[in-house]
Symmetry: C2
Subunit: 342 residues, 2 copies
Amino acid sequence: MRPTVHDIAAEAGVSLATVDRVMNARPGVREKTRLKVEQAIEKLGYVRDVAAANLAKGRSYPFTFILPCNDNAFMAELRSAVIQADARGRVERTRITIVDVPAFDAEALADALLAAGESETAGIALVAIEADPVRAAVRSLTERGIPVVTLVSDLEDSTRDHYAGVDNPSAGRTAATLLGRFLGPQKGTIGVLAGSLSVRDHQNRFDAFSEAMEAHFPGLAILPPMEGRDDASRARQLVSKALAENPDMIGLYSLGAGNRGLIAALEEARENGREVVTIAHELSPHSRAALESGLFDVVLNQDAGHEVRSAIRVLKAKADGLPVIAAQERIRIDIFIKDNLP
Amino acid sequence: MRPTVHDIAAEAGVSLATVDRVMNARPGVREKTRLKVEQAIEKLGYVRDVAAANLAKGRSYPFTFILPCNDNAFMAELRSAVIQADARGRVERTRITIVDVPAFDAEALADALLAAGESETAGIALVAIEADPVRAAVRSLTERGIPVVTLVSDLEDSTRDHYAGVDNPSAGRTAATLLGRFLGPQKGTIGVLAGSLSVRDHQNRFDAFSEAMEAHFPGLAILPPMEGRDDASRARQLVSKALAENPDMIGLYSLGAGNRGLIAALEEARENGREVVTIAHELSPHSRAALESGLFDVVLNQDAGHEVRSAIRVLKAKADGLPVIAAQERIRIDIFIKDNLP
DNA sequence: CTGTTAGCGCATTCAA
DNA sequence: TTGAATGCGCTAACAG
């Protein structure tokens, strides 16, 4: 049997309460006594049973997740990941309230942040939008000691405690390398479809993609980026038009959402005997099908479940004043081709 | 506050014990009473606190992991993943004993299995070797109701309860697609370096790789596979020799361990102005460096941590007689290039 | 068939 | 400065 508080109390010749005081670094213990207890802990190799501790504490962590009412597949998955995390949360004693805000609406997001700050909350996660009102709201929260983490999309120059999302420049470079190598010696132009370049992660992906492309694949020229606003019909139009206007376009990097429209445009092109090497983001039923049918060549993915779990771990650590191990919270970029689909 | 057993006992007008019996599907409850309790559970939206339940049960799951004393990086990581899992095991009440066996020794493995079966164990995980004594040992365990899962390497035609490892044919196909696409229109031959083709996972990878290659990239011919026994110096010799003898060799798939020797051979070749597109398995400090220096183009990886955690989840489920959700336990093949390294 | 009762390992009043 | 006692939510003897 593993040692319990009783064992170390007996070993140190003190009571449970004293042991507890030492363990939780609370005042009211003589230096001598504390030493005895610490030695007993060391000697018996005691480690506290977190589950039992939480049970006794009865403490729970009411977190708030502010999510945009976007109807794309990725946001749906993110939302479902949050719900699942909440369901599993009984053990960890976390409780999550989801707050919906209109997409791309900085004012609404800022308001939601402030409102969440007024409610009983142990920490807040948000999909950030780069805007001053949002930065101000975040500042007011962190100043009151409420932990704040950005999820999926970061907020630069802000006081947020942590960013739980992928390294977007790395994603852009990954796309560049794969596209360049798949195209090999071919020369031509490359189309880029973004949601909006005023969104930080899209901008970051694009910059890194361009830079890597220019550096390593001089035979491939990048066309001016299209902005599809993550909207299917708009994306479809833009891509169709680009294909028509650029007969030398042999590659396409779609770095935002709105894959449905893109897929429609590619299907149409294929019927006309036109194929371009395509890399898109986020695995969903649609993009998966596109991968299997060869319309997409690669899908880069961020695992929404990982991001949510990481956000929760960090919020909890911050709420408890504990440090976070950065390396462990790093979110990877998954590469999928048709052969390694999960 | 969430409802507790007390609340539902009150609501149903019965005692705690009865509630407990219903919840754990134990006998000795009248159908009528059971219904009342179930309705109360439904009505109050009760979900049991697993942590508290485990605490009260005091049950622990003493598992045994049988690992080969291989000194390669992957096995080291696997071992460390097991140790970490054990450390986290306090909450889940799992305790893991690691048993070491000589690598590639079927008799020793079989003996270790039987010995583990004699000790107090709630389940056993093993890195399997395809051999009849092993199959027999596994059978004797499963017949006694001890859950057995294979880890990393499977045991076909056996009574093991589950395989926690990657889909090796899928890995082989992934390698074929990437190699073929990276080489593009080039024609030439492809070398294959295996550990031993008598190991099931290596054989599976090779078969799928060959098949996909022939089907989709007819311009690339596969050379007879080399068997490096996961040994560095042997691998180095084999690869150097193959490079010398096959001037038209433009690609290489290393599907086993022993990357150090391979890297040495590739470095030597590079100094002589020779480069081949290379895909290897398992991310380690060595393979990572090779990726960064361009000696490796792609590394396929199985996440040892995932495999271990999955094995534990399955063992626990089997020990409790619960079903496992196959889709959730599927181990992915990670693709790494220099740009998406974690 | 059902209820009472005593813990699991820990945190926390309230006394001493 | 320290200790005894009580309870968190649940399970499992042991009675009835």
